[in-house]
């Protein structure tokens, strides 16, 4: 009952929270002392990057690990891993696009080959590579195993991406929320709107993941049905 209700409410709640985030971000929160109204991208870009790097890529890696572990190996884990990686690929592309839109007026360039931007681009290539790898294998078990191993290897780039701004000199700014000393560098209503955007985009991820997962289940069911139909067809051909 509660599960059904939460599944039904996930979409509407996500949309309401996203609308609230945009309303607060565009009309209620103040302009920044240095960036002026450019600061409004703060309520979009970090949240998209949060979902891309940590939530969706992380979900895919955890599901991949659980698939490789014999006790928890199941087709559900494989499906979750692949669906989460698809969402991650989309969000990684959006991270680079929104970052570029923010970078042009602030830095003065659309793109800079610094460690943060380059490692994020590499992560997108890894995500696309994962999806290509899945399409390269016809054997479901082999495909699941290889892609799970690949996801775990690709995950090495996530901490590199995260700490790149601390380890090297980058044009990209340092951490805004997860700072080394735990102090928030965003003030007042801007901080709460930023937190709201992180929560709203996280819910959006779960909504998209659920929709993509259901599509995958339907596709598998359709494939199984078409296989049964092909076998039946062959039997009929044998009869006549």
């Amino acid at each position: 009952m509660i599960k059904q209700l939460s599944q039904r409410l996930l979409g509407p709640v996500t949309l309401v929270l996203l609308a609230l985030t945009f309303w607060l971000g565009l009309w209620v929160t103040p302009p920044d002392r240095v960036q002026g109204n450019l600061v409004r991208l703060l309520y979009v870009h970090p949240a998209i990057a949060w979902v891309a790097l940590y939530v969706s890529f992380g979900t895919s890696v955890i599901a991949s690990s659980l698939y490789l572990w014999r006790r928890t190996r199941s087709v559900v884990m494989d499906r979750v891993a692949s669906c989460a990686m698809e969402v991650s690929a989309v969000f990684l592309a959006l991270t680079l696009i929104t970052g570029s839109i923010w970078g042009r007026p602030t830095w003065g360039v659309w793109w800079a080959w610094d460690a943060r931007l380059t490692s994020t681009a590499i992560l997108l290539v890894f995500a696309l590579g994962y999806l290509a790898l899945r399409r390269a294998n016809d054997d479901p078990e082999l495909r699941a195993r290889r892609s799970a191993v690949f996801a775990i290897i690709a995950a090495i780039n996530v901490p590199i991406d995260h700490f790149s701004v601390d380890w090297w000199h980058t044009l990209h700014q340092g951490a805004t929320v997860f700072t080394e000393n735990g102090n928030f560098l965003v003030h007042g209503s801007m901080l709460w709107t930023l937190f709201l955007s992180l929560f709203a985009f996280t819910l959006l991820f779960f909504w998209l993941l659920r929709a993509r997962y259901r599509l995958e289940v339907q596709r598998d069911a359709r494939y199984a049905a078409s296989l049964d139909e092909a076998l039946a067809q062959r039997r009929r051909e044998g009869v006549h």
């Binding site: 240095v34 600061v39 003065g108 360039v109 681009a121 039997r235």
Partner: protein
């Protein structure tokens, strides 16, 4: 003829080539992936993991740098910006050191006093403090503070 499963041989006839084809496709995907990652790394990180040198680092390695082109980071010193038809000149500080920058090209819209910038160019000579730049990039901080923190809303809705 009875319609039972054991009457017909349902074993796939041409199964083996599929696995081999899958293996080659996997190798192909991984090869493209490695090339793409190497291409990105060659653009971004193989030359240097650091996007710029700080003023302290640049001054400490003046002999090696010479008039070589590199990126330099520092904070724009207040009251020193002189916007010219070609670009802008200003003093840039880092630690207790300062460097005069003569930059060509249009500065970014956030370019102003007290803001960290990265300039790309070279020193005019091995002993000079003058840096000729062809590009100015603004490196804004991660701090976000309201522009008018004391602004209040009047009962009639107007902002003061």
């Amino acid at each position: 003829m009875p319609d039972t499963e054991d009457t017909f041989d349902l074993t796939p006839v041409a199964a083996p080539p599929t696995k081999r084809r899958g293996r080659w496709r996997t190798i192909g995907v991984l090869a493209v992936l490695v090339l793409a990652v190497l291409a990105l790394l060659s653009q971004g990180l193989l030359h240097s993991l650091n996007y710029f040198e700080t003023i302290d680092q640049a001054m400490n390695s003046r002999a090696q740098l010479g008039t070589e082109t590199f990126r330099l980071e520092g904070v724009v010193k207040p009251h020193t910006i002189d916007r010219t038809s070609r670009g802008a000149s200003f003093w840039m500080t880092g630690g207790d050191k300062k460097i005069f920058v003569d930059a060509t090209g249009s500065p970014p819209q956030l370019f102003q006093a007290n803001i960290p910038v990265v300039v790309e160019g070279h020193f005019t000579s091995e002993t000079s403090d003058k840096f000729v730049a062809t590009q100015i990039l603004v490196k804004h901080t991660a701090t976000y503070i309201a522009k008018y923190p004391n602004r209040v809303k009047a009962p009639n809705g107007t902002v003061r």
